[in-house]
Point group: C2
Chain length 383, copies 2
């Protein structure tokens, strides 16, 4: 198959920042792209060959869009899977597969899948609705504390709540959910796995994630994670096992907990380029976006090793500001060696909205970590 400067057309469902960064790679290789996104202001709109505004959840829209593409991929999980099933049935390659997306879209089936495949994960119970969960509590089949997660459409901390008492349940929606055992952990880790159509598979180094205490969004992603080689190997092994179990094609970001007693438990996966791999644009031999592209096109995978240490700081809208965005002090952080801002292209900021990220690379991790803190304390996303 000739992808380069040819009539081949890669369709991408979703036109957010992940799509935009993926398009940097299709442009580099001159691969034609079609992008579907509900917003006419989507960050990807200027980087693709053809942009189409439309719903990702509407069967007809997704199906008709898919008919124009030579191969279909996603940058967001929440898309119409029935349309993808039909397109796949008609012979269109769809990576990752709708079957995998269906498993992952629902946290309940995702967790069941781990249990079935002996992938270590925190014990869980599934509930059709909040009422069913409450009934289980009443019957002492479930005990406080636990982590409540809505089964579908949660992201970035939405749809997750630590439940310690009955009062914590009062504001939760009446939706399908799971209750997960609270596992004390010392680290949140992630490993990005890439697997191509032929089954060639590679992992990126283990990264370590630090979350913002309030917004529950990742604040720093640190590569490599400052953990022992033994734990790193264990985490990579679990990540490989997970991607193999899904027979996944594309990138799979596997988020994990390192427990107090050094067990590795899979928290959840994302079947696409992921926030925890943004550092790879500057730090890795091959970025996660290029490797996603290579894998779905069944090209050989690129080297996932790092050239230098990398830390990623998310740029989220500051509290108290809404409206036309201003990146205050961006020129100050750009004056620091090894600092690269990425601006996603959203005109309007609002509190905790992901507006961009900054990568800090350095030969020396301690120095990178210090600069990352300086960056975080200097730049502000205001209006």
């Amino acid at each position: 198959m000739n992808y380069f400067s040819s009539d081949f057309k890669l369709g991408i469902l979703g036109g957010g920042q992940l799509g935009k960064m993926l398009l940097a790679e299709t442009q580099k290789l001159d691969i034609q792209t079609l992008v579907l996104d509900p917003s006419n202001e989507a960050p990807s709109r200027f980087s693709c060959t053809l942009f189409q505004q439309g719903s990702l959840m509407d069967y007809d829209t997704v199906y008709e869009f898919g008919k124009k593409a030579s191969l279909l991929t996603i940058e967001i999980e929440n898309v119409n899977l029935d349309a993808l099933d039909q397109l796949e049935k008609e012979g269109l390659p769809v990576f990752p597969s709708p079957k995998t997306l269906r498993l992952i879209q629902n946290k309940g089936t995702q967790k069941d899948f781990y249990v079935q495949h002996n992938i270590p994960t925190a014990p869980h119970q599934r509930f059709e609705s909040l009422s069913h969960l409450k009934t289980s509590l009443d019957k002492n089949l479930l005990a406080f504390p636990f982590v409540w997660k809505c089964a579908r459409f949660g992201y970035d901390g939405n749809g997750v709540k630590i439940v310690r008492t009955a009062a914590d349940l009062s504001n939760l929606p009446e939706v399908e959910c799971i209750a997960e055992e609270m596992v004390p952990f010392k680290n949140e880790l992630a490993v990005i796995v890439v697997r191509n159509v032929s089954g060639e598979i590679k992992t990126y180094p283990v990264v370590e994630m630090e979350f913002h205490p309030e917004a529950n969004q990742v604040e720093y992603v640190i590569c490599p994670a400052r953990i022992s080689t033994e734990i790193a190997e264990k985490a990579q092994k679990v990540a490989l096992q997970t991607a193999e179990a899904f027979q996944h094609v594309g990138l799979l970001a596997v988020e994990m907990f390192q427990t107090k007693d050094d067990a590795i438990l899979v928290n959840e996966v994302a079947p696409r380029p992921h926030n925890s791999g943004h550092y790879s644009i500057e730090a890795s031999y091959t970025s996660q976006f290029e490797n996603h592209l290579r894998s779905i096109l069944n090209l050989p995978l690129g080297n996932t090793d790092s050239k230098v240490a990398g830390i990623m700081v998310n740029l989220v809208g500051a509290e108290g500001f809404s409206g036309q965005v201003i990146y205050e002090n961006i020129e100050k952080i750009m004056a620091i060696d090894g600092v690269t801002p990425h601006i996603y292209g959203k005109r309007e900021t609002r509190p905790f909205r992901k507006m961009g990220h900054v990568t800090i690379v350095n030969q020396n991790m301690a120095e990178a970590r210090q600069i990352a803190e300086e960056v975080k304390n200097t730049i502000r996303v205001i209006s």
Copy 2:
């Protein structure tokens, strides 16, 4: 000035591969861009905010285009300078300045400029036309051998000829030209200098260039050049001197000869991102394209050091092939660690046409050099 996700519009004259790679950086920072290029098939057409087809040499077209921009830059030197003069007079920032472009557009005035500013360069004589040059030969004011260069519009080996006998003059055009003393050299080197509006200035490491024996196009660019520290420092000093003499704003690629007796002579300059800096996308902390952008926007310059050794191989159309391009064996080179192809987006190949490049990065230069040769012997640009 707020450039990011704002109404600021960067105008770029020229939409070739240099423009396309520059646009990867404007997208990363979400800066709006307008591109003017004579071809509707220009590689940049899908990467900018607004693409306009039109002549770069037509006064009205360039002037009207410039009126829509907040700041103007170029990716090719041959543009209508009278229009840029007028735009600058009306207050539009134009970087590099039309004054510098005018000096550089003509190899005669460019060479005179070096002499005036004590910048080392091979001795030259200027001629209004080939007839005047022949008259000088007749009067013994000029002697064989020498290097004939047409004063304007030459590039990539076009417009340059080694003249050893009168017969070598027979096919040369009747245009303004220079005759340059032939200087025996052991290396062709280049140093990219970046200087911002405020005068902050940095150099990239010295690179070493190897040319294709027939096509006179660069075949390998090797960074860092395998030369002594002493020669490298001398070359960087000359490059800095040159950029300062022009009071240049933007990137200035300074091509130089290292003579047999280790003198450094400036050959010519390019006031823009340059083929000799493509390696920087993968190898440097800050690519030449990002630093060009930073410099013209008067942002702090990024670190020009390398993370790893880098070698660039040009992908030019193979002899004997014209038509819809095929990148034969591209999947084989992509299987090698640290190899990244860049496809410029030209559908039609023809012999020696620049179709793309491949960057090889490695911690070890000897290994990178070996891989570069393997890459060159494996991939073929055919039809």
